[in-house]
Symmetry: C2
Subunit: 426 residues, 2 copies
């Protein structure tokens, strides 16, 4: 059973407070892995791959070959490949709308100021692997990089015990512009990408991973850039009595099948809906394969919060700042402006989370754990950087030299003032 | 004397390799400060302020009062205030051009996809203080936040021994939309901003600081967002024989007066220019106040690199990825497209770095230490975050349901497929 809490209450407040990702013990282990890979190179990297993934990876099979990718195309189902290609097209189309041009604006006295927006040279995308296959994660990381114009898109994904990578993952990489693929995972893969072990170093690492990957990304931050620090996945559903209990229940279950740490919260003014959703969860769960995992996640991190009205529901949602936010109300669009903190908002009855996870176009790499207050979904900007351009004309320079020297002097920097003064001499 | 190196050479390669910011011993001290402030609150914060800044700060004088700001207006020079206001206007105008609208695009079958771009709620800006006064740092951090629409802009700056804050810093804060100012600095200030000690917590911390501030920002990254990790300041000048040796020398000196760790590099095909610049440096340095500091910085981190042509100069500059890049050549604009990694590019003889440091409009908070490969200047995006919007119509949903279920199933997630299937039932 999913617990029912009333808002405001101490229990609801506690639930809405996110826990931090910090884990000193794991952080220490991760630091050791990173340091060893950095110092000892591929020998350490391959030793960790043997230890953590059970696979024999060597210099000669570290990179995925063109033949392996070709073979993967022979192994995937044609219907799935066609669906994957349509998903690629949607994702590409959405991310193309995020592109912005560089600009340099000439002013009447000859001065030009501007901002160049250009792609990063080389990025690393991390895709979880092992037994499971996450072709959608490949698309969601690689396509924005490709749209941005990144030349080298390097994918790291942990191999299975036999050294293999799932064929759907390989096909997804080929379809979305990945230029190099390496058999490696965990903190050791993050270290290899950041310090250029077994390959050239990258400029930025993106993509979700487990706690080891996340803490490794934090530790190499600064040596390279990273997208964000991700934690367990979560959904918050705002619904009124017009919502279908079957839909809400199905969306709860789709969220919690990921992980026992995944969270699902319904915020509603309707006690009747709350009761009906609980019943539907039991009915639907019985038909699904990951029952035990879902039951535990719902018990630990599931909740229904009863509020007095939809206004208060928006307030509660903003406190939680959910990764995924579904709005299943009579007039969902009227709430959009009030929902200030969320990774992605799924509006209306025909936008369940899997629509966005796989297909619609917006990115599924989203801020978790309340970080939607300050992080954004992965997007084209993630793979670009800006450079300012300042070209003062002689006229502008002469007209403003006194101001600039006055400001330099008040900061006590007379060599700054001198750089202006020397240009005034004749 | 500034050393002269030829490119390519082992010495030039070594110089172009940036050193990392990592310092395990300092990182340990910083972690202790953060942990203590987080656990013990303002008691620890004020104790550190006493210890590191020598100032008595208590609950009742922690925040700067309206009266203190009013008093500061009485203490500043009218000419400087007027210059500061013109700088504000330029900075505001430039950053307003970086604003982008949210968009939601309706498609013909009723589906709507979009991206909301909205300001952060509350940000902390760090401004170095103590004896010096950096009003320009206040403007460069606060104005982009103000343009973005951030409601609460909190400034932290370390007090002098007597607890005072420089009046120019206070006036700059008032002119640029800062809403709260607290007397605190160092790692303890970063901890207070991130965990809400003595005030409400912020969502993001920006602004440069010393190594303690930088490492503290790295450690709280994830609890809050940060702008970037900054190191010592640097300039790279590309010049040919049309450049004025006096200008290049002045710009070298303005860069190295900041800090003994500041770096200045001239890249030129002209040996004649190299010799003339060295002479000019000696002459000009004799007239300036921070001679010893500048001489040491030039000896340690100054260099002239001789290249065969301007094409190679661009290549060398891209390897270094400088924070500030000046182009003093006959046709500087023709090189812009080749200069792929730089924080800001100063084009032509009338754009010395101080023009951008104080006045022109583009931001002076720039990526250092080679991080211009992946970081951007502080900008309006720094203070905004995105939220995706997905509103599928019934028609789109029915037309794409099979694709979405196929992709869910290939990832082994049958509860995801169920969230689609349950909506197809009637």
């Amino acid at each position: 059973m999913v617990k029912v809490l009333h808002y405001p209450s101490a229990e609801a407040d506690e639930l809405l407070q996110k826990k931090s990702n910090d884990d000193d013990q794991v952080a220490g282990q991760v630091a050791e892995v990173i340091d060893k890979v950095r110092r000892e190179g591929t020998a350490a990297l391959f030793a960790y791959t043997k230890r953590f993934d059970g696979a024999d990876v060597r210099e000669d099979n570290f990179a995925i070959s063109a033949e392996e990718i070709e073979r993967a195309y022979g192994e995937v189902d044609a219907t799935v490949l066609a669906a994957l290609r349509r998903a690629c097209e949607n994702i590409r189309k959405f991310h193309e709308k995020q592109m912005r041009p560089s600009w340099i604006e000439p002013e009447s006295d000859g001065t030009m100021l501007g901002q160049l927006i250009r792609p990063l040279d080389r990025v690393g995308i991390y895709v979880p692997g092992g037994l499971a296959s996450y072709p959608s994660s490949v698309l969601m990381n690689a396509i924005p990089a490709q749209v941005a114009g990144v030349k080298s898109i390097v994918m790291a994904t942990p191999p299975g015990k036999d050294g293999s990578i799932n064929p759907y993952t390989l096909v997804a990489a080929a379809e979305s512009g990945v230029t190099e693929i390496y058999r490696m995972g965990g903190a050791q893969a993050v270290a290899a990408l950041a310090f250029g072990i077994g390959m050239e170093k990258v400029d930025k690492i993106t993509g979700p991973g487990n706690i080891y990957v996340t803490l490794a990304k934090k530790q190499v931050y600064g040596t390279v850039d990273i997208d964000m620090l991700a934690g367990p996945s979560e959904i918050l559903v705002i619904a009124d009595d017009t919502a279908s209990p079957a839909y809400v229940a199905a969306d709860f279950l789709s969220q919690v099948e990921h992980d026992v740490r995944a969270a699902a919260i319904l915020v509603t003014p309707s006690l009747e809906l709350a009761t009906a959703v609980q019943k539907e969860i039991e009915t639907q769960m019985a038909t699904l394969s990951r029952k035990d995992l879902m039951a535990q996640a719902l018990r630990d991190n599931g909740a229904i919060i009863i509020v007095k009205d939809l206004e208060e529901a928006c307030h509660v949602s903003n406190l939680y700042a959910p990764e995924h936010l579904e709005v299943l109300t009579a007039e969902p669009f009227s709430l959009l402006g009030k929902l200030t903190h969320a990774g992605a908002i799924f509006v209306g009855p025909y936008s369940p989370e899997p629509v966005g996870d796989y297909y619609a176009g917006p990115n599924h790499v989203l801020p978790t754990g309340g970080t939607a207050r300050f992080y954004s979904p992965l997007n084209v900007d993630t793979f670009m950087k800006k450079t300012s351009v300042i070209a003062y004309s002689r006229e502008r320079f002469y007209n403003t030299a006194e101001d600039i020297m006055a400001l330099a002097k008040v900061e006590g920097l007379d060599a700054h003032a001198n750089a202006i003064a020397v240009r005034l001499k004749k």
